[in-house]
């Protein structure tokens, strides 16, 4: 059964001022483009979908098994997320960061496999054992993408994943998205329309209200 992520009548308001309201959509596979101007609520919406923020109203369903029930811990790892707010541990190396999150989540953390994951996002051998605080903006962005797919999530949520990346980095993210959208839904938010490669669905967030 493919994993489904669905939003039902989602609303979010800050201090009473609505950011978006009545947003509903459902996705089981393919790319969902999340578009909208600055301040339209893209980042907040993706955090709600990732389980990192609560909506003011409505709910998010992530169904990964046929019974339709997904435990909180299964959902935590079933949805991969990376956004501009995400920071990894500067005092640890890239490899130590990934190993820490794998181990703390109760998953095996084999060195070769994690090095391969870092290589997949374009972090060369030398960068693997360097502390993250020494990384450039682009390298940190690649590491964020590696974090998002660390648990091979059924649902992938990427917020502005191309920021700070060179051409090669953008191609790397395109490859990650292409592979993930074959397995399940990928939600990608961006201010740049070029980041949406043949989207299957589109969510437009505008001050007038969200349109799916």
């Amino acid at each position: 059964m493919p994993t489904t992520i669905a939003a039902e009548n989602l609303s979010k308001a800050f201090s009473g001022a609505p950011l978006f309201s009545g947003l509903s959509f459902s996705a089981s596979r393919g790319l969902v483009a999340v578009a909208g101007k600055n301040g339209s609520g893209k980042t907040t919406l993706l955090k709600i979908l990732a389980g990192l923020a609560r909506p003011t109203a409505g709910r998010v369903r992530v169904e990964t098994d046929p019974s339709g029930s997904t435990s909180p811990s299964a959902r935590r790892l079933a949805v991969g997320w990376a956004g501009p707010d995400l920071q990894l541990y500067g005092a640890l190396t890239a490899l130590e960061n990934l190993a820490f999150f794998r181990r703390a989540a109760g998953r095996p953390a084999r060195g070769e496999e994690l090095v391969a994951r870092l290589r997949d996002v374009g972090l060369a051998e030398g960068a693997v054992h360097r502390r993250v605080e020494e990384f450039s903006t682009g390298m940190k962005q690649r590491l964020r993408v590696a974090f998002a797919v660390l648990f091979d999530p059924a649902v992938l949520i990427l917020d502005e994943p191309m920021v700070g990346l060179d051409v090669e980095g953008r191609e790397t993210v395109d490859r990650v998205v292409a592979a993930a959208r074959e397995r399940g839904p990928v939600l990608l938010a961006s201010n740049d329309e070029r980041d949406f490669v043949r989207p299957d669905q589109r969510l437009d967030l505008s001050p007038a209200g969200a349109r799916a």
């Binding site: 990732a50 389980g51 990192l52 923020a53 609560r54 909180p72 811990s73 935590r76 790892l77 997320w81 956004g83 707010d85 995400l86 920071q87 990894l88 541990y89 500067g90 005092a91 640890l92 130590e96 820490f100 999150f101 181990r103 703390a104 989540a105 109760g106 974090f147 660390l150 648990f151």
Partner: protein
């Protein structure tokens, strides 16, 4: 993998970070060493007190030093995650109760390391006589654990607040007062040579209640 093993992974990560950055360790140990030294200068006159009158003064001073030294480092547990922006990654992958357990364990070890530095300083510089070393050790374990679990929980609670340092002190004072009272009472008795069974029972009960409360409220305090 059990939750305890996952908590140990979080604790080991905090220890690795701390050993590389040395933010909390330096602050805690510098405060403890300075406080013990200053107290030893100020206590020159008190050394002439009859031995029977000294335990309350020594016990109170010891716990004042331990508490304030701990207060410089223990609240950083969750606050440091928010300041560094790493809290989101933690919340995304690890249950709040596991993070709380791991950070409590790290803070407890930090407290014990601090006690290992402070107590010999007290013994040497203040000519302190720990009449019942086992009683003092048990008090340090029970009191230190309570201090660690409450400080860690409060750190999670205030981590995303604006005036987090002020808020921490305001909430910590009433919550930790019973613990400090029991710890001081236990230390007085242990200094005088007895085993502080009653005060330790109070400390253990406090630790149990604090642990239950902290774990029941962990996700409320740490997650959105």
């Amino acid at each position: 993998m059990s939750a305890l093993a996952a908590a140990w992974v979080v604790c080991a990560k905090d220890a690795t970070e701390e050993l590389r950055r040395k933010v909390a360790i330096v602050a805690v140990f510098f405060f403890a060493a300075t406080a013990v030294t200053l107290v030893s200068f100020a206590m020159v006159g008190a050394l002439a007190l009859p031995p029977a009158d000294r335990p309350p003064l020594e016990a109170a001073l010891l716990w004042i030093i331990l508490f304030f030294a701990a207060a410089t480092g223990l609240p950083r547990a969750f606050v440091a995650e928010e300041e560094a922006g790493t809290g989101l990654a933690l919340r995304k992958t690890i249950p709040a109760a596991v993070v709380l357990a791991g950070k409590t364990l790290f803070n407890f070890l930090l407290f014990l390391a601090m006690a290992v530095i402070t107590i010999p300083g007290f013994l040497i510089l203040l000519d302190w006589k720990a009449g019942s070393p086992a009683g003092v050790a048990a008090t340090m374990l029970a009191g230190g654990y309570g201090l660690a679990v409450v400080s860690t929980f409060l750190s999670a609670l205030v981590a995303r607040a604006g005036q987090r340092n002020v808020l921490f002190v305001l909430i910590a004072f009433p919550l930790l007062l019973p613990l400090l009272q029991a710890a001081i009472a236990a230390t007085i008795e242990a200094t005088a040579g007895g085993f502080p069974a009653t005060a330790l029972r109070v400390l253990v009960a406090y630790d149990g209640a604090a642990t239950c409360g902290a774990y029941m409220l962990a996700s409320v305090a740490w997650e959105d």
